[in-house]
């Protein structure tokens, strides 16, 4: 059976592709190496994949290639390619977000109409909820993103549903909550914090540190995809969270022990588009998919720390 993973050189895409290969699937991976962060990171992410049997990588842009031809023998689509970043999505950049998040998804869905897919899994985001007061947040909560990024992720999620409803494309959307772990993007909080701790630099926090997140470890997120393949509910949306809400300051308190040294924290102004709290109500994923996050924050941060030490060892 063949899977297509878009955004395969990214943080989550590369881990997912590895897991799919371990499960015995063939994987076609696509990435266009958007310049949101350094290509070097992404090349490292897929270095292990490129040598594996059953994996084929294409450097390609979803907006350019012939997707119908590409999907000819594909059974599962995992659409993780996106223009990432909440804070960068304002102003002129919005055009890039609409192209890479909305239009690219629509093109892939359009091509999927004629493909014989078992499933199309869309990587959505907790950012679709915005600053909701309903915490933990179930899927049926009113959706009101707080950033242009969130708007594009939500628009694409809606497109998935309407291609399911109107054309029978078997789509499922997974709303990820603050995923962390080895290969985390360099602009994301824990990557920045652990790197700063390693290099003896100040850790910059946006806001007062009282914001909270439902941090979700990468292996739990990957596991959710494998579960979706086993228990497929087309047209559905699932929250994929880590199972507990943690205040940022509390998470930071773990760092001295993990890094084996004191860390210096400075507070910067809160950023536009950042939400105050996120917490996933994962009861639907638990009930229907059998999803159960396993990795606790301290354990997950240690794993990310080991990776950070490795990638910045020559800095």
């Amino acid at each position: 059976m063949q899977c297509l993973v878009t955004g395969v050189a990214g943080f989550i895409g590369s881990h997912l592709a590895e897991a799919l290969l371990r499960e015995g699937y063939e994987v076609i991976g696509i990435d266009c190496f958007t310049d949101y962060y350094s290509r070097q990171f992404k090349e490292k992410n897929i270095a292990g994949l490129n040598t594996q049997k059953g994996f084929r990588f294409l450097e390609a842009n979803l907006l350019q290639i012939d997707l119908k031809k590409l999907l000819k023998d594909v059974d599962w689509v995992f659409h993780l390619a996106a223009q990432a970043g909440v804070r960068a999505s304002w102003g002129e950049n919005f055009e890039i977000y609409t192209q890479n998040n909305v239009l690219a998804t629509q093109k892939l869905l359009e091509a999927s109409k004629e493909a014989n897919l078992k499933g199309f899994v869309y990587a959505s985001s907790s950012s679709v909820y915005g600053d909701t007061k309903v915490l933990p947040t179930p899927e049926k909560t009113y959706l009101q993103p707080l950033s242009p990024y969130g708007v594009t992720k939500l628009a694409a999620e809606h497109l998935c549903y309407l291609y399911y409803k109107n054309f029978g494309v078997p789509t499922v959307a997974l709303r990820y909550f603050t995923v962390y772990g080895p290969r985390q993007r360099p602009d994301m909080a824990f990557h920045r914090f652990l790197k700063a701790a390693l290099l003896g630099e100040e850790i910059e926090i946006y806001g007062d540190g009282q914001q909270s997140r439902d941090f979700t470890y990468i292996s739990d997120v990957v596991e959710a995809h494998l579960l979706v393949m086993k228990r497929f509910y087309p047209g559905e949306v699932f929250n994929i969270g880590g199972g507990s809400q943690t205040v940022l300051k509390t998470a930071l308190e773990l760092l001295p022990e993990i890094a084996g040294k004191n860390v210096n924290i400075i507070y910067q102004d809160a950023q536009k588009g950042d939400v105050r709290h996120t917490a996933a109500d994962i009861s639907k994923a638990k009930k229907l998919l059998g999803y159960q996050p396993k990795v606790r924050l301290a354990e997950g941060l240690r794993a990310e720390w080991e990776w950070i030490k490795e990638i910045y060892k020559y800095v």
Partner: protein, 62 residues
């Protein structure tokens, strides 16, 4: 199935969506050629670079 055949089966020219020809060793190395657009999509370390902006314009086809 050899890489070349497999690629030709799933890939088309990103610009015109037309068929591609596999070139094992051309003036620009290994790659996929669109005779219509006269664009050559290089294959570097077994990775096809299917981006229009990275394609090499070729003057003469074959």
């Amino acid at each position: 199935m050899p890489i070349s055949e497999e690629l030709l089966e799933i890939l088309a020219c990103p610009k015109c969506k037309g068929d591609l020809e596999y070139i094992k060793e051309g003036p620009h190395g290994e790659g996929l050629l669109c005779p219509q657009c006269r664009l050559f999509y290089p294959i570097k370390e077994d990775i096809p670079i299917m981006l229009i902006e990275e394609a090499i314009k070729v003057d003469e086809v074959k």
